[in-house]
Structures are given as structure tokens and as C-alpha cells.
Amino acid sequence: MTAIHKEAVIVGGGPGGLAAAVKLKQQGITDIIILEREKQLGGILRQCIHDGFGLTRFGETLSGPEYAQRFIDLVEQEKIEYRTDTTVLSISPEKHLTAVSPQGLLEIDSAAVILTTGCRERTRGSVAIPGERPAGIYTAGVAQTYLNLKNIMVGKKVVILGSGDIGLIMARRFTLEGAKVEAVFELQPYPGGLARNVEQCLNDFDIPLYLSHTITDIIGGARLEAVIVSEVDEQKRVKPGTSRRIECDTLILSVGLIPENELSAGASVALDPRTGGAYVDENFMTGVEGIFAAGNALHVHDLVDFVSLEAEKLAEAAAKFIRRGKLPVCGIKLVTDKNIGHIIPQSISGTKDVTLTLRVGRPLTGGALKLQQDHQDLLSQKFIKLVPAEMIEIKLAKELIKSTSEIKVVIAHE
């Protein structure tokens, strides 16, 4: 079978992929296709029936499905080709894609490939929680799929491990559906999710949040019967004598998200161990020319609005790449100190203004965030408090950049 040719293939029809597609079309790139493995476009937003989406991108608060629909409508309006029920099996470094659907195999050669594949949840296995292996243990997202898309309750008496945003949202959902959420336990001494979610999903419903706690045993041969929770010290070691048993039939895990990059590996895209996503330059181009990545596939975002905005920036750069066949070399590396969890992009050209996105590795109070080049400060931004749950943006004007040496991103304490 001969491959079809496209200017751009977008892998994943969620808030990143849809935004990228629309922006590409608006930039005059017409020969594009979105490949989506689900039966509908929209990605994970379809199951996020709570509101709070869209304030930044659309200036109003929307539910997940409403937010997705804005972009789906634009995709339809712009007559952008898409295929649902279509799973990409492989991408080669030469940008040859093989996808499969009930209609058969689809082979595409594309000038640009845009990876907006989202992320997946960390599981019990990856965090290695000891104990028995009963039914009743779900990741927050899986429980959300059952409840919001299939109308199924996974349990009645719930304990949540991890205070990631989906876990917090699910604490509220379970409560509203008549389940009893006993508590949320978080290993870190600070919450994993946004402050507004702690307030609106836990405090408003009197659900206790225990920081510096973890689950040390799981009881139940067939269905979950109880968990043992314990307090941990600063080194995350269990404090003796702090264990207690909590009866429950359900354990929800909200212990982190991992950018989905199984296809990237096959395309020889190098991944940054700090983000779990690709190394990208200011154009969101990965180490493989013509392959771009944005959204949660690149790094896990706090708000969906930033996923779409990032994908739109990607699309602007990708449109240039498609037209010119080349983008400026990005030889200036960005390096971070140990306070910074990660930064996007990891390299820039120095020839245009860029917005850097980063997260701190732990909560920080009172200091300044500095960009330094050749031992000189390029800019310094004071802060009162920074938390890992929130993404931080820094705008760097091209005039400030002095050379092609690497730029250090550091935290200076007052």
C-alpha cells in the first residue's frame, strides 16, 4: 500500500491537538489530518465534567466537554480532516506514520508530525505500594472514566492517596454521588494539586487532607477491606507508631502523571528525564527535525488553557517549518539549578522573544528567579511563594540575550 502525503499529521485530538490543528489552518496550512484513537474528539476533557476550564483561553469558565467543543466546532468550521477510532502504531524518524482503524491500516508520510498525545497516570505498580491485590484500587482518571462516562460507581467508602488535581476533583465527585470519602493522604509535606482544588473539593466538603502520610499496607483478599496509613518523616521514612487502619472498599490513586511518549521513542525523539517529555526548542520542535510536541505529552500542565496556548504557539512555528523546510538553529541551552523541577523549552535561538515555562521542585518562599548568562543576570523576578503545583512563566526578550552561551535558570534566596 502506498502512503498518503500530508503537510502535518497531528497525533491526538485533545485540547492540544485540536488547538494546533485550528491554528495551523489559520496560518494557511491546509493539508492536515488529526488522528484520534477514541471514538470522539476531545481527549480526556470529555470526562472532565466539572467547570473551571477556559478562563485564560476563552475568558469564561467552561466544563471540560464545553471547552473541547469550542475547538471541535472550529475544526468542523475549518473543515479540518480528522479520523477517530484511529490509533497510531508507529512513527519513524523520517516522519512515516502507521495507524490502524477498523477500516484498515493507514500509512502517512508527513512534512511535520505534531505529538499531542497527552499523559497517563502513575499506577500502584510504579509506586510499589505493598499489600494484597484486591479489586477496588483505581487510578483517579480510571474512576473518573467509569463515573462520568459510563455512569458506574467503583465504590462507596473511599480513601485517596495523592493530592493531584484529579484525585481532588474525584473526592468531590464521589461525595456528590453519595460515597463517603474518608480522607486524602499525601506523601509530600505539601499538596500536589492546585490550592483552589484543595479549597473547593476538600475543604468545602469537610474531607481531611493529611500531608506527609502514605499507605503502607493494603488489606483484602478479594475486594479491598482496609488500608493502613502511616506518617512519614522528611526522608519519607515511615514514622514508627503512627500507623492506623482505615476501613474502605476503594482506594483511589492520584500519584502523578507521566507524559505519553511511546511513539516518540520509536521516532528516536530524545526525552528529558525531568519532564518525561521530549527535549524541545523554542519552536516546540523535538530533536528530530519536523517532529513537534506540546501539551501534556511534552510536560504535565496545571491548566488545560496552557495546553491549548502552547499548542497554538507550536502551530505557528510548525507552519513556518512547513513553508520554509527549516527553522532557526536553537543553540542556546537552558539549564536549571536543583530548585527547578524542569523548564520548557530546553533550548532557544536568541533571535526572538520567548516565554519559558517552568515548575519548581518543591515549595519555595521569598526569593528571586533569575536568568543568568556568562555569569551575569539577564533578568530577575522576585517572588513571595512558588509551589510545584503551578506552572511559572517567564518572558525573555531577545534584546536581553548577550551571547550564545547557555542560560542558567536559578533561584536566589533573599
Binding site: D85, E121, R124, A222, A265
Partner: protein, 485 residues
Amino acid sequence: MEHQYDCIVIGAGVVGNAVARQLSACSVTIAVLEKEQDLCFGTSGRNSGVLHAGFNNKTGSKMARFCVEGNLEFDRIAEELDVPFKRTGKLIVGFSDDDKNSLRAMKAQGDANGVPGLEIVGKERIRELAPFIAGEFAMYSPMTGILNPFIYTVALAENAHKNGAAYFFACPVTDIFYQDGRYRITAGGRNFASRWIINCAGLESDKISALLGIKGHKLYPCRGEYFILDKKAGQYLGIPAYPVPNPREGGLGIHLTPTIDGNILIGPSSKYIEENDNYSVTQDIMDLLIKDGGRIFPYLKREYFIRNFAGIRPKLVGPQEGGFADFVIERRSEAPYAINLVGIESPGLTSALPIAREVVRLIREVEPLKPNPGFDPVRKGPPAFAGLTNGQRRALIQQNPDYGEIICRCENITKAEVLEAINRPLGAATVTGVKYRCRPMMGRCQGGYCQTRITELLRQEKKLAVKEVLYQRKGSNMFTGVALK
């Protein structure tokens, strides 16, 4: 109503199914009674998946004899039953002089048992065979292999079933008595009668022995825990790598085994426990696995861990004695029409078919068994999309569009494969049953993508209410009900 058979096999693990298949080659009626909801829910589904060569076992023992026999014939068996299998060879690596002596003794034992090709090799050869494995020297066993233990167990059952064996699930045997030349068996609320009983109950085989009136067998459950590593780690290991075992332990030492699907297993540990159905994994052992595994596999990284699990060995020796007791395969005067199999632990997977032939031989000592003229030893498994060429995939999707719908994105398993797993004869009735047959949920996302799809297909195909979907055992209901309107 009483179900009448010539032979009743208790237990649908690898041994029970091998026995049922072997019996199905004879002109007898057969039923297999299984206490769980499905095949393979005990020790057969919870092990390293290694086809052992037979050098670990005492010369002259049944373990040694059946293991060597089972190993040598397995290429043919794998082909007959369409079981994924690879003769990888295996290394037992050593570091000290004591290790070297142990390896020499092990080689001598293996030679005496008739294991072909064993050799002691140096560092260079280790590097050739397994470049990422540490060790000063090793014994290399070319005959050792890896197989898919789930598929092997299922394949034996499917073939037995095709040749006439009936299967009854959720039928724990609670009573047996002998009357008028027949055993009367109560199991799962049903009544059965049979001229012969074959006890293949694994971890419950001591209890079944007692029900048969055979005294003196006591099992000591001995748990082994494992880590499963991501396929990303699979590139580092093409061949099982074991340490020199500690003879007191009654295990083979914490080893690294590539699985036939490309993951790596680290384990098993060895710890005697009280209950024979507690499959807990424990913090202490996890730490130990990382430490011991890291000794022979220095490339071990935390990010590779995708799951842990535990299996339980039905051991006839307790913690005081240690080591291995031989398989018990017996016909006793207390129960002259029962073949009693107790303590079938490692190498039970490798020995299953030779054990089954031994069972038939023991029955033939009492009565002649005529061959079943219709016996067909061949079982064909369904195609696995992930392993096909694009040309084959295209053809398959054209025949059946469900082969074009990916259900498990980590392992590229299609809707057609899941439906086949559910709807084949002796098909899966639980989520774990689907997983064992075609591997969804075994990848790195552990069901994050596919679990909701699998439960939906199970409900649809088996006409299950929401509350009836089981994860694995009885009582392991996945859901408590539907959401509020």
C-alpha cells in the same frame, strides 16, 4: 442431579489441565473441577515462566526425571498447542569460590540427570550471552527456555476440552466419599460421581488428600514476590540470569527472567507464610528484590517497575528442613482409585505433561485405558495483532474490522483479541481472565487505558450487570453500582 464421569480432575492449573488432556487421549469421560472462576488463577499463573532444564533437582528424583523429559519435548508441545516459547538458555552466575564449587556440583548433578550441554563459562562468555549481567563466572544451560505460562495452562485446558473434558468453575471440593465403586464429590453446590479422582489441587492438595482419606501430607505455603519491569528494560536481558541458589532456601534465588513478551521479572523471594492464599507483596521483600536483583543486574532502575505480584509454592518441606521434597505422585491403598499429586512446586510447569503421563500410567496399572480414536493434540491460538506484519494485519482487519480497534495501547491488543478471549470455549469470565489470555493491562499503563474497555466488553458479551463484573476471585467485584441519576 449428579454428574457422572470416569475421571474427575481436581484443579485447573497447569498440572490438572495436562492430566485432563492426557486422559482425553483415552476413551474415558472427564471432568475438571476448579474452585476459582477460571483457569490458571493459582500457582500456574504466578511464576517465572521458565522451562527448566533439570539440573536443580536430585538425581533419580521424579522432579529431575520429569523436568528433563518435559524440557526435551517442549519444542513439539509448544508447536502442537501454539504456546509462545523460546529456548533462550540460562546463566547461573557466581562471584565467590563457594559459588564456583556449588556450580560444579550443580553441573555434575545436571549431567547425571541427563541435561544436555551444561558448561561452566567465564566472564567473556557471560558478556557474550548477557552483556548487562554481572558475574565472575557462570554455569550456562543451553536447554533452558521461557514460555507464556498463562497461555500454556489455557492451551492444555482448551485442548482437553476440545477432546471431551468438561470443566466446572467456582466448584471448590468440600466433600468426598467412596460408595458403590464410585467417588461421590460435593463441589460448589453440585454433586459429582466418578470412578477415579486425580488430585491436582496445588496449594489445596493436602486438604484434598485428607478428604480422600490419605493421611500425612502437609503443605507449607511459601510465598515468592516479584517485580515486573517495563519492556524498555527488556533490551538488557535476553536470557534468564540466576544467582547460585542457597540450598537452605527451597527456592532458586532471586533471579532475572525475561518474559516471552519482552518484560523482565525480578524474583521470586522465598518466605513461608501461614495462609495459602495471601498474595501480598511486602515492603521488606521489595527492598530485598531491588538489592539482590541489582547485584546481578546493575542496570536496574526504579522507573522500570510497572507492577509487583506474588506466587505461592505448595512445599512439602517446612522452614526447619528447607530445600526441596520430591513430587508426590501416588496411588495408595487407602484410596485405590485416586491418583494423588501433592507438592507439585517448581519445576511443575516444565514437568506437567510428564506428570500427566505418569498419572495415566498409574491408572493403567489398575485398568486398561483404550485410546480415544478422535483425539486431536493440536490447539490453535488466536492471532496476536502486535506480532504480525502489516500485510497480515491488513488481511485480518479486512476479515474482521475488530482487529483494527486497539483496546490496549501499550501492547497493541485489539478488540477482536479481547472478544476472542471472552468467547472462546473455556473463555474468560473475569477481567484477570482476559488479561491472562491476551495480555491487556499487562503493559506499562496497567489498564489505565484499556480496563474500562475490557469491563465493558465483558459486560456486553457475558450479559453481566454492573455489580457482577469480577476482577478475579469470588467477591472481587469491580463496581458497587450505578451512579445517581
